[in-house]
């Protein structure tokens, strides 16, 4: 399977700080990729480099097989981009905006656009400045999908939307996904949404891609281990895949990626009274993973799409 997005050591500095640091991102064609990270982790800067709005200081980015640095208009027309905050010309009506956007594309699916506008009950004659945040998000999704792009890049598309509108937005996104072969990269902070729609996730921590794997694989690999001592616990000497360890009363709490025999032996060597292995939901797994001391985070990447065999393979 070829990659719809492919970057090689993509790097961007703001001042002396590398906001994106030697990023090797690969988004397989036809996948839905959830691009995650805390505020300031480098998600938006990466997305802007992928869309040619920011020039990298070093490294290269390829989208749909073409170098972003010299992207031909024909290739550009196959890519849709939803900017954060859904900037649109506020003085236009919905209908005017659609006619305006249409002029930029060689292909345009009016039927699909009408269908989405109907689904969201967006008034064609309504001024954009009178639309709610949710309606503007819906309109920009409709406009992004109308040219029937092969690749959609969405920068935090549900930011600021209420729960109901967010759900409707996801429903439309699912419809978009159902058209085969289309690739979507989207950034988000709503982990529940990510789990619903993303095949794979990537987690950026301080500009470095620390996690890149199937969504379920991450959820099933991050474990919280509670060692009960009944006295002040000893310090944890460390093991492969250790994200963090902290003392909580008479317990030692560890966050581990890929808990297996090796890690269990490291725990048992401390002779605790009991060892509890706790599964986490995606949000908790993300929080526990990204709030650890950053430099020492284990990098968790796998090409493996088969979750079952992951346990045997463990985390890198």
């Amino acid at each position: 399977m070829s990659d719809a997005i492919f970057t090689q050591r993509l790097t961007k500095y703001y001042g002396r700080r590398a906001v994106v640091d030697s990023l090797d991102l690969r988004v397989p064609q036809g996948s839905v990729y959830g691009f995650l990270g805390r505020n300031g982790a480098g998600k938006s800067t990466t997305i802007k480099m992928l869309t040619g709005m920011v020039r990298p200081d070093s490294g290269k980015a390829f989208v749909l097989g073409e170098d972003v640095a010299g992207l031909a208009p024909a290739a550009r027309a196959r890519i849709a981009y939803l900017a954060e905050g859904h900037p649109l010309y506020r003085w236009m009506t919905v209908g005017e905006m659609a006619r305006f956007a249409r002029a930029f594309y060689p292909t345009w699916n009016d039927q699909l656009l009408e269908q989405i506008l109907d689904h969201f009950a967006l008034p064609r004659r309504g001024k954009i400045r009178r639309l709610s945040n949710g309606q503007r998000a819906q309109l920009s999704l409709a406009l992004a999908v109308a040219p029937d792009p092969e690749l959609l890049i969405l920068d935090d598309p549900t930011l600021g939307l209420d729960t109901v509108v967010r759900r409707e937005f996801l429903e439309s996104l699912i419809q978009v996904i159902q058209r085969r072969g289309r690739t979507i990269l989207f950034s988000s902070h709503i982990l529940g949404d990510v789990e619903r729609v993303a095949d794979r996730i990537g987690i950026l921590v301080d500009g470095v891609l620390r996690v890149d794997c199937p969504t379920d694989a991450f959820k099933e690999s991050v474990r919280k281990i509670v060692l009960q001592f009944g006295r002040t616990p000893p310090a944890f000497p460390g093991c492969r895949g250790l994200v963090s360890s902290r003392q909580a009363g008479a317990n030692l709490e560890l966050i581990v990626v890929g808990y297996g025999d090796e890690q269990r032996q490291a725990c048992e060597a401390l002779e605790p009274r009991a060892i509890d292995v706790i599964e986490l939901n995606l949000e908790d797994a993300f929080i526990e993973y990204t709030r650890g001391p950053r430099r020492s985070l284990p990098i968790f990447a796998t090409e493996n799409r088969d979750v079952e065999s992951l346990g045997a393979q463990g985390a890198a």
């Binding site: 789990e195 619903r196 729609v197 379920d216 099933e220 939901n281 949000e283």
Partner: protein, 129 residues
């Protein structure tokens, strides 16, 4: 047949849905030969990536719970016992031991547990061997 998923659960979505379908079949709420919703429809109603639904159907087919017919969709499979009688008995005893251990710790009597099992068993669809 209504299914639901909860992303805030510790169980991945594909396992939540897989278990719901297995249970529905075991309880007879889904009958052999009955058709399941298409991947497309279920993906839309649950607001879940269609690949996740397809994966659930594929795994349940591998387990023999469903069978898919090309172009027609997924159907509940006829129950078939692939394990030997002895293997099934061993597996059952293993499950019973775990279950009985919990029941002992709940402070129940053997009679209470046997009566409760008999009552619940009426809610499931058993094979006639």
């Amino acid at each position: 047949m209504e299914f639901s998923v909860d992303p805030s659960s510790r169980l991945p979505i594909y396992r939540q849905l897989g278990e719901q379908i297995r249970e529905a079949v075991a309880r007879g709420r889904l009958r052999p030969g009955e058709q399941l919703p298409s991947v497309r429809d279920l993906s839309r109603t649950l607001v879940v990536n269609p690949n996740t639904i397809a994966r659930v159907y594929t795994e349940l087919e591998r387990e023999g719970v469903l069978h898919t017919r090309q172009g027609l969709g997924a159907f509940v499979a006829e129950p078939k016992a692939e394990l030997t009688k002895r293997a099934r008995k061993e597996r059952l005893e293993e499950l019973l031991d775990r279950f009985l251990t919990e029941a002992v710790y709940l402070g129940l009597s053997a009679e209470e547990v046997v009566a409760a099992v008999a009552e619940r068993a009426g809610q499931f669809q058993w094979s006639h061997v």
